[in-house]
Symmetry: D2
């Protein structure tokens, strides 16, 4: 099986997300890091790319240079990952899609709904893949939950409750801490703080697992650290297209929650719950039944959950391999093989619409507003 060629933009030395993407792309042997513009500091990025094995002529100083260098090569890159600062995702993704590349974009895909609509249109027109790194959806047990709901194990879904809360911004020392400060500064983070950063992962999971989409929502935002302009604690109530009731809490000041992404789905016939800190189990309770622990790797899981698991039952697999599963599915799709349900541009667009709707609602004392992008109403 020929290796696919892969380029990365951003994710330079010392970045948090870079190693996860490199491991994700390399782990299963599908991709080779072939080109890169890894750092805002051009020479530094080129040097790092070369240390990672990129040929000098394909190590670039910035994304425009990379685009120019790569767009017309006969051995065109099979995939480009965009892992740059949020505000640049739109422009870069758009440029590479337009140039005919498959793109995996970090979240948030764009800063505005309009940009999101544009990416969706371009992706469609280009016929290329435009995926968004909602990597939690690629955990084997998340795929299993989606399959359970789809199969009807839970009956019609009544309520979904999801959280993505942590306490890593609780110190309130934003003035001295630029890594935290920008998250709450509209000039850098856009219209939303925690909802745009973490809440959208939870919201995507809710849609992914239930196979339904958010239609309307009502939000309550708080900046519990007074210096913050954007919210650090958010509650969003929502209704999905099929009538499901949704509850989403997301916070950055929840001291003691480490990486508190979890979800519970309650239907007429059963309930399930899953937490990202213990991602290899699903707790499943049938109506009038006992709670059962479904283990990643157990006999009888869907082929989807089996395909995305690499080691036997109760050998835990974690976050980096969830990212790797995104690359597994991208490789399959690029090769024209069957793949699972990749998060795509339309999901990035829906997230952006929901974030903007939440901001609008929170600004109107929790008024219920349409959470859908205009093109999908």
């Amino acid at each position: 099986m020929k290796k696919l060629t892969w380029g990365m933009i951003g994710g330079g030395e010392g970045s948090q997300i870079g190693p996860a993407h490199r491991l994700g792309a390399l782990a299963d042997g599908n991709f080779t890091l072939t080109a890169g513009a890894l750092d805002a500091d051009g020479p530094r990025g080129k040097a790092y790319a070369e240390r990672l094995g990129v040929a000098p002529d394909r190590a670039y100083g910035d994304w425009r240079e990379m685009l120019a260098g790569e767009r017309d090569r006969p051995d065109k890159l099979d995939l480009v990952t965009v892992a740059t600062p949020n505000a640049t995702h739109f422009e870069i993704t758009k440029a590479f899609l337009n140039a005919g590349f498959n793109v995996l974009c970090e979240k948030p895909m764009t800063m505005t709904v309009e940009e999101g609509e544009e990416i969706v249109r371009i992706a469609e027109a280009s016929g290329r893949i435009c995926a968004v790194n909602y990597c939690y959806s690629a955990y084997p047990m998340v795929r299993e939950m989606r399959a359970m709901v789809h199969r009807g194990d839970l009956g019609a879904i009544r309520t979904v409750v999801t959280n993505f809360s942590h306490g890593h911004h609780a110190a309130g020392d934003d003035a001295d801490n630029p890594r935290v400060r920008w998250r709450y500064d509209p000039a850098m983070a856009g219209v939303s703080g925690q909802m745009a950063d973490c809440g959208i992962h939870a919201l995507h999971l809710a849609s992914f697992i239930t196979g339904d989409e958010v239609r309307t929502l009502s939000a309550d935002f708080a900046s519990t650290v007074p210096s913050r302009v954007l919210e650090d604690d958010a509650m969003v109530n929502f209704r999905m297209e099929g009538g499901t009731v949704g509850r989403l809490w997301s916070s950055t000041i929840a001291i003691g929650r480490m990486h508190g992404l979890d979800i519970q789905v309650f239907g007429e016939l059963g309930g399930i719950r899953w937490a990202s800190e213990q991602p290899n189990q699903v707790y499943y309770t049938r109506l009038n039944g006992r709670t059962e622990i479904i283990e990643k790797g157990e006999a009888g899981l869907t082929s989807e959950a089996q395909r995305l698991s690499r080691v036997a039952i109760a050998h835990p697999e974690g976050f980096p391999l969830a990212v790797a599963n995104i690359y597994v599915d991208l490789a399959a799709r690029i090769r024209g093989e069957a793949s699972g349900d990749l998060p795509l541009a339309v999901d990035g667009l829906r997230s952006m619409a929901a974030v903007h709707a939440a901001v609008q609602s929170a600004g109107q004392n929790g008024a219920w507003v349409d959470a859908r992008p205009p093109s999908l109403r």
Copy 2:
């Protein structure tokens, strides 16, 4: 130490709450069951009371008969517990307070805010104790959390997140199941379903632990089982007097949640969490610190937590002894000894105001409304 005399109204054979009260009153040897009107079926109630050791002349056919028989006795009962159907709490509590008895009333104390205001006035005028059975507040570790907040361990409180959700009404077979049906029928349950039944426990805990009160709220109610008039899934956002942000989710269709009362409190300096299904531990995380497990019975807890714990560390104590702790504190107060922070009529009133506010808000698409009783604004 002379035993105190105790009478019970309601809690007859086969009731759920009766055994908890009897055990609560008897367990520590403070009370003797001396009089009772235990059942709507008078003869049945008298026979049961006698089997429980009540003298025949103090076993009554109904509460009015009991009031008449007991009000002028020189050996007046030290305490009367009201554990009858919800709609009767107000009338009976009022009558016994007016007749000079100390009363422990089951929740909800009343059906309306006005009734709640009246009970508070009567209790005050009578000089008698009027307690409400918010028994979760009497767990040793809940008292410890209150003390931690009061002592400033968590700094100013930013956010409190509490849930009281279960799945025991998920079958949706209300038509065939009268024990469930009445909860969602305004004619029997009043203005609210799950919020009035369980949500108020969570709300009381939020106030009890933070030492603060709910000021405003916004609610989203859903009847996920279509035949239901009243809500079976409720989300309430609130703000407390001191500015704390509150989130409360309460549901009866959450299959897999067994008795899901839990609470998380996040302050400037730390966070704590506690769940009623594992009530002997508090998870405590200091800002920038590790999560620590505080165990009931460990060295160094407050005298309050020590006083309400009967056995050594890691010997679990459960729900019936939380109820017993209410009786321990009632006995102390009746005897004029120091006691802990008993939930009183004013707490019952605040709950009723919050429930009615939530109903109002939910009916106005989540508009923010004042959650306080008129007399406490």
Copy 3:
């Protein structure tokens, strides 16, 4: 239902075990504390008994006085609890049995196997109840596990693994700490330290749940705190009459284990596990199946588990009510009603034989020895 009369020997003010017995006897309204010799300090014990409501003429200065005062009364006590220091259990239990009382004896019932044999003979001859307070066997879910094994849910039992370990004696400050020191001093504790103190609870559970008895064993004892003569860390391998393999670890220096009594039972068709710190759940896995969480109070449990549970599903019940369940069953047996499987003198005897066998084996480098009392070989 007439209350039963109850006398207690030991369990005076400040004792650890006294409150558990009083709550156990009183909680369900079956017993009245009618007589007592509560303290080695006679006047102190009498004064305390009177404060607890005992009539002055039935508050005694010591057990011999109590025996003399109570043995020929026409209103003879229905039950006497022996909660004195270990070395006195034999003498007092023997005396009260001989005088025709029902006795509940704290563990260990005796210090030697011979004494144990004698108690069994006397109990048999007297026709009275002689129970031993292996209270963990009275948890509803422990009774449920016994029923599951008996019913064949697990098939033939292959292996049972049980632990009773804690870290409360880890400081090693025995010289300054008399409450710890005596446990490791043969002059006061007899032949064994932790095995006799805690290990026998675990061993009793193994027998109780499997319905089988220990036949042979091999022990490895260590005194990890060098000043100790008796063991503070013990491992016992055993074989039961039916061939089941047993593993028991018991320690007092296991820092971080709070009250670490747990048990796992593995059969041909399934496995179960239970821990005393979370006593309301059993984890049950069928062969080739998922792990299911059995909840105390769920529909379909045995009548035994239902009878010994006082509140609904997921309302936790703890240690004091396990002790109370012993009294519930004693009351039933005294009244001639059906009761559950009470731990009796024969169980106390078997424990003592196992402890002495373990001491013998440990002294012989782990040689396998017969663990049964001579009369039961």
Copy 4:
């Protein structure tokens, strides 16, 4: 950083261990799969190797062919992994070491103690690396525990308790199940069943974390499925060189234990526990203190734990990346950089000595025997 070249023997299509090694070697970009003899079926193995990107002239039909083809190449492989059936490990490892290759050998390294001694001698003489895949020791939090003990956080270690039990061989259908049957057949598995398969992982962890070695042991083996010759349930008591007491239980019939490798270490000043199914946390209790949860990725961990963790706190990392950490350390050592404490041939030798000692002891009714290899006594 130049990629290292890597060859694999065994681990062909459908094998369990192959994918873990490939992911381990590839994930961090250190190695390229350059040569391989992947399958006992030569043509199948060659075809698979080519599909994995191996050049046709370096895809071999068996290990001898590979040795012949690779031994004298100027671009000699940097590392060879031996992942063949157990009985062949010795011969292949020996041959490749002798030919001057660095080798990572799957466990068990050999079948006999003598073979183990020989590998140690050869490795020493060759100056090459001979590592053994005790991959659990490469979890970040296991390295952290080792550092904690080494630093004295726990004081002198008194007792270590470890288990490696599962229920995957509980069906007892060995006759129909060749994947299970061979484990209990001396002709294929050697002298020991579960102890040699899983117990040695637990034993290695005990040594690795405490920094001490097993000196003597006493074993109790059982074949709970009667048709089995070798043990499926084993208990080993041991003493380490420094006097630490050890307890190890290992079973394959423990239905409900999925992959039950865990360890508890108790010292004079504290205790720690860790379980492989939740590998990103260590529970740590200081003497007289509360239990604290140490999280992988938290601030202040040792550089060792930081180096081997790829993503932020509470982003779980699992088994495949523990294997990858072995390769990370191998790459560092091959490049002459600082690396962590790799499990080496001497550890493989010690395991084999302990297994043979346990077999001997179990055959002598648990007699205590020397567990050390002759060369290390």
